[in-house]
């Protein structure tokens, strides 16, 4: 009996010594939940709201990075928006998609803790794909020429404007002369 109590006390002592060390080691651990996206299938060029639960101490800043890919490439430029701690461990941020040919988006977090930024790009729980649907303000863009960053060659109205201006100019000139 005496031996058992002695063993328990030794275990408690060792545990007592180790726990603070473990506590310090895990204090910096950040647990990131899955990012939820609203709407789940955003339209191109629209605003998307990102919400995520993050638990951990010393979280100073959270930013959401959003990458847009069209059918043939993923754009170099990333959206990089700050998130705010809305309640408890919930962080929310919004980003407006900037390409009108996006089909897939990827989002992930970068978190600043104790002065160090951690990138969660390769953390599959936070790196979330979302499908972007064409919507009203994107897509084929036929007939307009201000369609943004698609790189698509779409028919424009510049020659029409030039022709109309020349006709008007000639008309005014003729009128002035008569």
């Amino acid at each position: 009996m005496k031996e058992t109590i002695k063993n328990v006390l030794v275990v408690m002592l060792i545990a007592g010594l180790c726990l603070p060390i473990v506590g310090v080691a895990t204090a910096n651990d950040i647990i990131v939940g899955e990012i939820s996206i609203s709407p789940e299938e955003p339209t191109r060029l629209s605003e998307v709201t990102f919400t995520v639960e993050i638990t951990g101490n010393d979280i100073e800043q959270v930013r959401i990075k959003v990458e847009e890919c069209n059918e043939i490439m993923c754009y170099q430029y990333l959206l990089n928006e700050s998130m705010t701690n809305t309640e408890g461990n919930i962080w929310t941020g919004t980003a407006t998609l900037i390409h009108d040919d996006t089909v897939v988006g990827h989002s992930w977090l970068v978190i600043k803790s104790n002065g160090i930024w951690y990138d969660y790009r390769n953390d599959k729980t936070t790196w979330k794909n979302f499908t972007v649907v064409p919507g009203d303000n994107g897509g084929d863009n036929n007939g307009t020429d201000g369609g943004g960053n698609t790189g698509k060659k779409t028919p424009g109205f510049e020659p029409i404007l030039v022709i109309v201006s020349i006709v008007v100019a000639l008309f005014i000139y003729k009128k002035k002369r008569t």
Binding site: Q76, V104, H106, W127, N149, V162, V164
Partner: protein, 191 residues
Amino acid sequence: VSKIIKIKSFIIIVLLIILPSFFTGCLNNSSEENEGDNKDLENVYVENFTFTLLDGNKKSTSEYQGNVVVLDLFGVNCQPCQFQMMVMDQISKNYSSKGVKIISIDVWIVFGETPGLVKDFIDEFKAQLDIVLDWTFGVDNASGTIFYKYVPADKGIPMLYILDKNGNIYYSHAGYMDYSSLSTKIDGLLE
């Protein structure tokens, strides 16, 4: 008086012609965008740069002088880049004997990708698709030196460059490029 009227008319005409040009100039930014080709980058010498091989050793592009090089800037987590790898595999099979060298550099190291991830990527290709990606693979540095220099801000990856034997950019293309188009470009250089 008639002279003044004439001058006024002339000014009005000039303004009417010029003003729409201003507006069309503002709108014109997309129509001159390319379909993936970057004409402004053609015939430009690629400054020799060093990249890190997957085993940690450094390699310089200057070592490829005398060879036609297909430079493929990619990212593991970029889906179009994965499709591009299949094309690069065909290029490797059909053009290695003609002295064409392929260099694939992961430029998304700047976003947290690692050499280990690239190794896994190569292993996955072998395991899942039985495709051996047997050309030179490397990674950019954590600052994204190659990424920011050779992937234009309004473009993305995969970003392909065909370099001639002197290291000049013969052709560049942002985005996935099929085998037929890419091989035609290479043939044009080899002729």
